[in-house]
Symmetry: C2
Subunit: 217 residues, 2 copies
């Protein structure tokens, strides 16, 4: 599978499959077919087969996938065998929440630094971390070989922080600020838009229960 060929939505499905397989492992399931996997987790069997076929011959026709083997393969494909150092810039409420978010500090990811421009916050603790001045960002990135940066500053400051992260050598950035950021080739910025989840709920409310159709308030 060439990098160009894989869309972010496919990658997100690989993440979902990995979670499902890990749950099956916890329940002692050894093998599963794409049809069973789809039924159990409300997925599409044909989509599963198509996505996993891109990784090579992983299933055996009529037998299915070996759960442990497939989980290990997805874990590796997703780059989770590597420990990625993560810095979070902007330690307001969202940055603080992410600093202690279990998924950001386990199995493949490790938060190694929190940064804020507010001098009143410098030296304060958030869990096992101390908030540092932005001026120390480049040193921490170099020292800990940080590969990922998370931007949780206000929109107006986001581009400046992105530029600082890129200058320090961070190539993968998760941006929670509601602003489209300019980036350079060789850098990947993913914008997280939490509103999309509410829109999904609104879609099904309208489709399934008619909420929002006609003149209903």
């Amino acid at each position: 599978m060439s990098p160009q060929a894989v869309s972010p939505l496919t990658v997100n499905r690989l993440s979902v499959y990995l979670r499902c397989l890990e749950e099956l492992q916890r329940h002692g399931v050894d093998r599963i077919s794409s049809t069973e996997l789809a039924e159990r987790f409300h997925l599409s069997a044909s989509q599963i087969r198509k996505d996993l076929a891109q990784l090579g011959e992983l299933g055996i026709r009529g037998v299915g996938y070996q759960v442990a083997h497939l989980a290990a393969r997805l874990h590796s494909e997703l780059g989770l065998d590597h420990q990625h150092g993560v810095v979070i810039v902007g330690i307001g409420n969202l940055g603080t929440a992410l600093a202690s978010y279990a998924g950001f500090d386990s199995d493949g990811f490790r938060v190694v630094g929190l940064f804020d421009s507010d001098p009143d916050k410098h030296g304060r603790s958030r869990g096992r971390h101390t908030i540092r001045p932005i001026e120390e960002l480049a040193d921490v990135v170099r020292r800990d070989a940080v590969s990922m940066g998370v931007i949780t500053v206000p929109a107006a400051a986001a581009q400046r922080i992105l530029d600082l992260l890129v200058a320090a050598g961070v190539r993968s950035i998760l941006n929670f600020a509601p602003r489209q950021l300019r980036t350079t080739p060789g850098t990947r910025v993913e914008n997280v838009d939490l509103r999309i989840h509410l829109e999904e709920l609104a879609f099904y409310l309208r489709r399934e229960w008619g909420v929002g159709r006609s003149s209903q308030r």
Copy 2:
């Protein structure tokens, strides 16, 4: 398009298309083809045509889509013509961040109440809201015809809060707690897993730059 036929990933793409169309409107673009739309926003033209075809005949072959018309249609399909009342339960750092998150309180959504079980927080302000005891949840849901609940409590408390929301009549729930919740038919729970975004970055780091391949630390 029957509700059963539409996957959450398709709905998420409709949200993405709407954002793109709104940006085109701001730039004064009247018409656009699926190919141009795909190129401009790094999407798949065939996927766009397939997704939009499910909504009916929206484009004209050789002419493309009328931007304003398509945006209005998607806005309506996504249930955004309706104003959805949203309550947030669990006003720690994440709940506080979401209470002032622009996307949760505009164009189709309105935060109408913040709730927490900690008596020390009751009566405190978060933006234009005052934090209330959980005991008042059912009253607010009824009075303001709340259709959506956001769960930002610790994992151990999440199921209890879900049950309270459902008992109060909330049918659409966004769960940020890292726990799989039991629900009843007629209720939709979407689990938000922010780690999936880091995994996406890790995938491309490995694919495009080899980070995490072989023995690289």
